[in-house]
């Protein structure tokens, strides 16, 4: 079998992006194995979230932070990444 993925037009940055997502999902798996149950709790959004929900909220929020950054601000995109990390930490602490 000759698998050819050139049609997918891979680049290193996008491969890195997807590997990072995969790494995060694997980390969540390990976390779940170490401490099962997903740690459900009701945070500042006033509905129950598990760790998986919090990761999803972090990732979705990060996507919109990056989009807003690209649309509104000319500064380096790394700042948006930093902002997203701060946002993700807040989500994991308070949501």
């Amino acid at each position: 079998m000759n698998l050819n993925f050139t049609w997918m037009a891979w680049t290193w940055p996008t491969a890195g992006f997807f590997l990072a997502i995969l790494f995060l999902i694997l980390c969540m798996g390990v976390w779940e194995y170490v401490s099962p149950g997903g740690n459900p709790r009701t945070g500042i959004l006033r509905f129950e979230t598990t760790r998986g929900d919090r990761l999803f909220i972090s990732l979705l929020g990060a996507a919109f932070i990056h989009i807003a950054w690209l649309g509104l601000i000319d500064a380096s995109l790394w700042w948006a990444l930093l902002l997203s990390l701060v946002y993700a930490i807040c989500v994991f602490l308070f949501v």
Binding site: M8, A9, T14, E48, I67, L70
Partner: protein, 288 residues
Amino acid sequence: MEKTWNNKAWFMVLPVLVLVAFSAVIPLMTVVNYSVQDTFGNNEFFWNGTQWFTDLLRSQRFWDSLSRNLIFSGIILALEIPLGILIALNMPKKGAWVSVCLVLMALPLLVPWNVVGTIWQIFGRTDIGLFGYVANALGFDYNYVQDPVDAWLTVIVMDVWHWTSLVVLLCYASLVSIPDAYYQAAKIDGASRLAVFRYIQLPKMRRVLTIAILLRFMDSFMIYTEPFVVTGGGPGNSTTFLSIDLVKMALGQFDLGPAAAMSIVYFLIILLFSWVFYTVMTASDAQN
């Protein structure tokens, strides 16, 4: 009793995972790859960073079609949901007319999108279409090919005709499941028709209404075939919704990079809305 944990069951979802990977994840990854590159065909790609996203988010064209789409979805929800509830409330609950009404309601849902578009495209024409001809004969200056307002009117009426039935059927299913005891109690209390609706029927319909709103929002937000067949996005760009604009960009202009960037932003907006709806639905269920 202690709940048995057996994580081996997760392997049962493996076939679904493979299917989703082939039908959704791999194409999505490809779109992400396209969105940061430029191509002139021949499977050759050139790195372009986040330029397509910057261009897209600062282009009037994108915001115009996005706002057209949001306005369209807003109008669709504002019309179809109350109308659907109203029709469902007035449908017979017993007797021979139930089947007649249900079949009549289900008919528009069975017509394929492109056929609905063709029906209304001809129906609205001023030369051979019944609606267009009659409207003009009555003195209305109706012409959906030239007038943006008429084009919007046609597309909205078409969508209401096609999809209100879905809301009706969902609401009707939930209405007939309300036990008679509720209505008897309301009668004893001397509740008005409005009070019965407000305190019995509406709360019972809440769940299906959330689903109906979610379905109608997503469908109207990604609407393509019907307006494309009727107006082709015109006159001018007045009915060019996001999906029509996207196809123009990707297939008409062969601008795969910008189109991929637009797809991702489009996808994120839908994901956000769906997540909000889903969360509101499950959170309110948990409260009950």
